[in-house]
Amino acid sequence: MSDAENKNSNRDQMSQSQSQSATGDTGFVKKATPESLLSRYKRSAGAFDELLKANGEIFPHYARLFGELEEFGATELARRADACQRFVHEHGITYNVYGDPRGMERPWQLDPIPFVIAPEEWRLLETGLIQRATLLNKILADCYGAQELIRSRWLSPALVFGQPDFLRPCHGIKIPGDTFLHFYAADLSRSPDGRWFVVSDRTQIPTGAGYALANRLVTSRILPEAFRDNHVHRLAGFFLAAQNSLAQLAPRQAERARVVMLTPGPHNETYFEQAYLARYLGYMLVEGQDLTVRDNHVFLKTLSGLERVDVILRRVDDDFCDPLELINNSILGVPGLVEAVRAGNVVMANALGSGLVQSPAFMSFLPGLCDHLLGEKIKLPSVATWWCGQKAAREHVLKNLGRLVVKPAFRTHFKIAEAERDELKRRIEFDPDLFVAQERVELSTAPTWQKNSLTAQPVSLRVFLVADGKGGYCLMPGGLARVSPDSDGKFISMQRGGSSKDTWIPSATPVEELTLLHGGNQNTELRRTGNNLPSRLADNFFWLGRYSERADATSRLLRSALLRFNPERAGGARPLLAPLLQTLEIQGQLPGISTKPELWANAEAFEAELLAAIFDPERAGSLRQTAEQLQRLAMLVRDRTSNDMWRVLSQIDDRLATPPPKQVMLAGDAVGVLNQTLMGLAAFHGLARENMTRAQAWRFLDMGLRLERAMYLCTLLDATLRSSEAENPSLLEAILEVVDSSITFRSRYNLLPTIPAVYDLVLLDDKNPRSVLFQIKQLVKHFDKLPKERSDTASPGKTILENCLSRLERVDARELASPSANWQESALAATIREILRALPQLSDAIAASYFAHSAISRTGRGEM
């Protein structure tokens, strides 16, 4: 692992996890075993095997790797395979499955055995792929420009005009350097005779480079000796080229030219990769709503105002990028973007419209187009493809329907798999342009670790190219090898449970190590501010803070209630528990509990009610739901938080999601879970406090936390004063426990708790980090550091806070100290209630000043 590949992933955290596994498992031990790993490895009869020649010999480029694997033996390899899974989990490498709310964030599948390609073979692939990228780019430039290829019949017009991916509003836009494809990916597979060919082209959004990088990170760590000894080519150079290429595109060649990555959001299947790459490349990950067009330039909406954007690396399909000129029902894009691109004020990578040549129908035209446009024979063949829009091809397809794989020619809504052959025939004949047919692909097989042995599994390889900014392309020396889950290799799809591999291109000599940390020779401009937090993220951090504290307060209240609940005399406990339960009722965890007096007569039902407030995922406001919200919010800010914070929150959710079966769930078990939850939250808050820089993200997180804490605390203090047992020391003990101030209290007062002493400690003592006054003072400090909207007027939030502060400071210690017969009507109670009223207003004021998401609406798909 080079430094370069390490950049921006939390390095402390990585070396820590490495040392953990090293100390825990006494390191990786090489041990020879008598039984060869390959004794049970079987070449499949019909396919090319990547590891073994037909005569059973190992291919030379795999020899060194397998020499070392054989030295390990099966036991050691199994241990490394475990480490592989653990790394994947610890680095939070995941992907999402569409349409499956429970399937969000599935762990990425990585096979520990890398896919190795001989360097001389790789060089041939490289020239073929560069030629292909150059060719596809030229085709795009013509289709969006002169359209000579159509007029001179090199390209069938239907392929362009009939394709939804031909974006007419983008025709004629001047593209810098005529580079449409800044990134290009291709899926390759190897036929039984050993030749490589292209199965599909990726020009719209070539995904997977980030997963290739993540695979490299893990694989180089679990097989460090083999990685070193094979002199594996590093991936960093590819990403460095990508950075340079994008930087050159900026219309504003200023030092602060800004590149952002545009994401469709956390539900996208490759969101992990987007966040990972954005971090690695040093780009901000933004959603369409974070951007706005003003004066025909694109700006990022940040807390401190609008900041210009120069280059957009998009992970949003091009037709979704501008609801004004492209698909009209998209909310993912930025209104006015196309016009800003047209004016040359912002550059999109890949260019809008690039999805056009992704259609498999183009494949059958490529050999001719290559001759015509580049004056060369095509070097890397495509899988045999017939586009039914051509008469001869159509006839061939209709005659061979059983043998061929029929696919939609264009990105489209219909599915073919379900159609009967006769139905398919009819549809092809009615609208032939919409169909292509391809030869069935026979994938090669590679050694894969499955169930503690090596088996030959079908693989395909996705490779990645980036425009070098000088009219050429640079191939990533490696790629994303994907392994089919079934041995017949029908499907290769992470969505269907496939796995993946790192891809190694070994070198005879040590390879150059590059780093992204020093992108150029210019001096680094030191920056201490982080004023560029998008408002949307500020909003998410604020709520992350609120929900984390909500989970904390809820756990504490429920724990105290469970500990105090005695089934033997349920009714007797009622007055003492009432303020705790009332707080949970008001805050939404135990809705309507005060209207269910029957619960007090039935200890089991009462306990069930409390347990539901902890574990029930369907119940609004339950701790479980709060934990899910927390995880959701953490995902939204994932590119801004450390892996540790993420992991802590996942664990909290996991724990609540897997309670013991209901019948054996005891109150005691639940208290245990609550204790663990509180430890997890303490870890989260500790990480936030100790590890986040005091920039805006942290500030909004902490503001959310303070506000929520004050809210729960005031609710509890108010409910207590309303209780008939307000002065009961047992009740006051419970408050001290919830507020985690029992120890402080006992160190100060050698007596039973009284209202004046307790309220002084938890309401007015600004040295107590759990007191109300402490929260308010922290909030005031935060407000003073926030960017001001207008300097001449005090912000509404600040005014609210100052009122709270002066109310608290006016509480008369003497009044507090003198016994009161009617606490409910006291000035103290009035103060608490006033703060309770003010806090939600404060939250609204913060939202109005800093988050302000205006809904987008549209007019005028016209009027007749």
Partner: protein, 291 residues
């Protein structure tokens, strides 16, 4: 025939709009039979940015952005246009429709590549075998192309009921077909879908129609409306217009503003607003014939 056309569009928003971006296609086209003496486009409030250009189909469009907070938007155009009579070829003497459809099967000859764009499905118009069957009643074996088109126009006029309440701009064509009701936009789309289902190129036209006051009554100012119809590509004469809403072949009383594959390519005013909430739109069109 000379016309002075005034077209006002007023949007009133329930909530203030902080930024809006719009594309307007309101400027009458210049064609072989239509000239444009003058055109003006006024926008209130004054846009921060305004750019005129020609779109992919050759229409004049105006892109504009308003960056001040506003709660209404008014767009007023004023045009002077002269429409001359089309050299009316005889529908009967046009080529059989099958031979025209054959020209648009691969490989397509370069001369008709531009027209070829209008054979394909577009976002709001999908060809289907069902519509092909409907169209074949007008396009029997060897029917001259424009005879078939004229008959299709008549049948749409007779089979469909004009009903502004039955559809809106978002109503899919399939629903128009089931209800047999709609407005000019729906009938134009339907005609286009039928023609494309036969493999014939057809375009959507947006524009204006001169209206005649009832006999003896004065012409009402502002009572006219935007209008839409379709045109079909005829190899002998180029594009020929048909208006299924009125069952006519447009001559001197149809003024062309823009054409495209369907309504989505040519909507007169489209906009995306930040804020705004619900909105109301008032449109008034006045087509005044000049002597």
């Amino acid at each position: 025939m000379n016309y002075h056309i005034t077209h006002r569009t007023l949007y009133e928003y329930a909530a203030p709009v902080s930024v809006s971006h719009h594309v307007a296609r309101l400027e009458p086209l210049v064609t072989a039979t239509q000239s444009r003496e003058s055109f003006s486009l006024q926008i209130f409030p004054e846009p921060a940015l305004r750019k005129a250009r020609t779109d992919y189909f050759g229409n004049q469009l105006c892109f504009f952005a308003i960056q001040e907070i506003h709660s209404k938007l008014e767009i007023i155009t004023s045009s002077r246009v002269t429409v001359s009579p089309k050299n009316s070829s005889q529908n009967e003497s046009t080529a059989p429709w099958e031979s025209v459809a054959e020209m648009f099967r691969d490989p397509v000859s370069p001369e008709v590549v531009d027209a070829y764009q209008f054979v394909f499905d577009s976002p709001q118009v999908r060809a289907s075998q069902e519509l092909a069957e409907y169209a074949r009643e007008s396009f029997g074996k060897d029917t001259p192309l424009l005879v078939g088109a004229r008959d299709l126009t008549r049948r749409i006029f007779e089979d469909f009921k004009f009903d502004p309440r039955a559809t809106n701009v978002a109503t899919p064509l399939e629903e128009v077909w089931v209800k047999r009701r709609g407005v000019c936009q729906d009938f134009a789309h339907f005609g286009i879908a039928c023609l494309r289902s036969l493999g014939l190129p057809a375009r959507y036209v947006s524009g204006y129609l001169r209206t005649h006051p009832p006999a003896g009554k004065p012409r009402l100012v502002g009572a006219d409306a935007s209008h839409a119809w379709f045109r079909i590509f005829c190899p002998d004469t180029g594009w020929v217009d048909f208006d299924p809403t009125n069952n006519v072949q447009p001559a001197e009383e149809h003024i062309i503003v823009a054409y495209g594959r369907d309504y989505g390519d040519v909507s007169p005013v489209a906009g995306i607003l930040t804020g705004g909430g619900a909105h109301e739109v008032k449109v008034s069109v006045d087509v005044e014939p000049l002597e």
